[in-house]
Subunit: 329 residues, 2 copies
């Protein structure tokens, strides 16, 4: 295992310390690094809280700040954060207007956020993301996995929260964005969890895992490495088929690197995916290309399509200032 670390026991703390130090203008670390929160809270605003296992950086901590999340709870690598962490985050950021949890659909996350919601004294609602069309029921999931589309939910709902919408409206909006969002991924290599010290799965020198999950969970099939055009065709095809009648008009196309994929390849995949989506009648009105929802050092990428309406487009464009996503300020 080749990683820039001090020891497997301190990876998470060392990394979080660096993260909070580098972004001290907008972020504050919670006690015992239980969470990362927005430095300047906004009274009367519904607080958005997310979290999950670490190893997907910049998700979720890198999406904390003006116009997105108020707090994020980092679990150990690929391990759910504890209800105790979530409760501490809620107590730190709830200014009285209630809290919206944005939860990726993994059993541990779902259970722990549920327990935290029960323990919280204020009002709590939840949006569950499950945008991965690759498979139903996976290693850590009943139903579909929540993957890169979660960023889109966090951006659009975050902008609406900043505008002052109430908890019920934000919950409805988050469910709507999730319903209009689909993703699928492909891995060229495995990832290596520091504490394990070896790759999550074996994969041949000429193979790819089509439909891989963001923890290296199995996808649809293990096949020979194909061309970027063919990979994009399969993934966009699966996404659009699943969106069905919803797939019309304007869309956001988000090409997400898994951690070890160079920008050159991501933009190449963007070109291939945009052509397929446009050939199917979609108009690509917004784009995002980069490594935002990663799987440690896995090589590969995911494609996400969100079908936009005018409201969603305006909220996507609204100012945001986080470590990973920033515009308009």
């Amino acid at each position: 295992m080749k990683k820039l670390i001090n020891s497997v026991d301190t990876v998470l703390a060392d990394s979080l310390n660096g993260f909070c130090r580098a972004h001290g203008d907008i972020l504050v670390a919670g006690e015992e690094l239980k969470f990362v929160r927005r430095k300047d809270l906004k009274a009367g605003k519904v607080a958005l809280v997310s979290g999950g296992g670490s190893g997907h950086e910049p998700l979720h901590g890198g999406l904390v700040g003006h116009g997105m999340l108020d707090a994020a709870c980092p679990g150990q690598v690929f391990t759910s954060p504890t209800p105790d962490q979530m409760l501490a985050a809620v107590e730190a950021v709830d200014t009285g207007a209630g809290v919206l949890f944005i939860v990726k659909n993994y059993e541990g996350d779902v259970m722990n956020f549920e327990m935290a919601a029960e323990m919280a004294s204020g009002e709590v609602a939840r949006v569950l993301t499950n945008d991965d069309v690759a498979v139903e029921d996976s290693l850590y999931t009943t139903g579909r996995r929540g993957v890169a589309g979660t960023l889109v939910v966090e951006k659009i709902v975050g902008a609406a929260a900043e505008e002052g919408r109430d908890l019920a409206a934000l919950k409805a909006l988050g469910d709507k964005v999730n319903a209009r969002t689909r993703s699928m991924g492909v891995a060229l290599t495995s990832c290596t969890v520091p504490a394990a010290g070896k790759p999550m799965f074996e994969i041949g020198e000429d193979e790819m895992e089509m439909g891989v999950g963001i923890h290296g969970e199995p996808g649809r099939r293990r096949v020979k490495l194909a061309s970027a055009d063919d990979i994009a065709a399969e993934m966009i095809g699966a996404i659009l088929k699943d969106l069905g009648e919803t797939a019309r008009g304007e869309a956001l196309l988000f090409v997400n690197g898994f951690g070890a994929t160079p920008a050159m390849e991501l933009y190449l995949m963007y070109d291939a995916a945009a052509k397929k989506a446009e050939a199917a009648g979609l108009s690509i009105a917004r784009s995002l290309v980069g490594s935002y929802v990663t799987s440690l050092d896995m090589a590969g990428c995911s494609l996400t399509v969100t079908v936009l309406d005018d409201e969603m487009k305006a909220l996507w464009d609204a100012p945001v200032h986080t470590a990973a996503l920033r515009w308009g300020m």
Copy 2:
């Protein structure tokens, strides 16, 4: 070789097409993809033009836009762009106030930008970056290599150009920023040039290349993989020793991933490097962490320190809108 590509012959064109498509709001591709230029040119402003071999994305195309470069010329992978490309870029973006070339110190780049400057009809000046303290005289370089510090030069000079400063002032500023900037890198793996199909160099499972160049050029020594703290200590030590008396007061610390290094490790390295720099008496006033000056799919990172003054700090903070760097707008 595992890459998301269609064919080795079309990697660059496919990727550039995707890049220009994804950022069509701010960028325009030049004829035959000779260059990428800012969509909205500003009359009377000195034009900043850079470029170099591809494979270092988002450098330089991702740094074209308001407050940074006016055009960037992408060569083939790890190959200098041609004088013809540079001349086409100059003709496209020179609005009459002259052109400043920002050139990384590699023999091919230096020679070709020189030829282009001779052929250009308008006034042209040049800033040469050579921030890499690792080695003198390398595979493609006489003197020191220009590496990640080039981004800092482009940001600060870009902001000053946007303010309307003249060519001589910008040239002087660029030289000053370069003189106050030092970098050093470490590689854990090699990179693979698509056309070659195999790694640039061999490296053992427990080894790192200390002082590596951004094309996989040899560094100072091949040693056993060390802890992040020890790696940061050696690199920051070399940088500060080289800065000498200049290394006092406020600094920018830039941790740059080489393409296959996850954000988690970059922030961990940031933490280690910031502690070393602060222990040596520097105050880290600005930070940048991410993969900006890459070497295709190489794992590893570089550290860059720029010693700031008030002018440089204000120019660093000035609004910028490019594909890779954006704030204040």
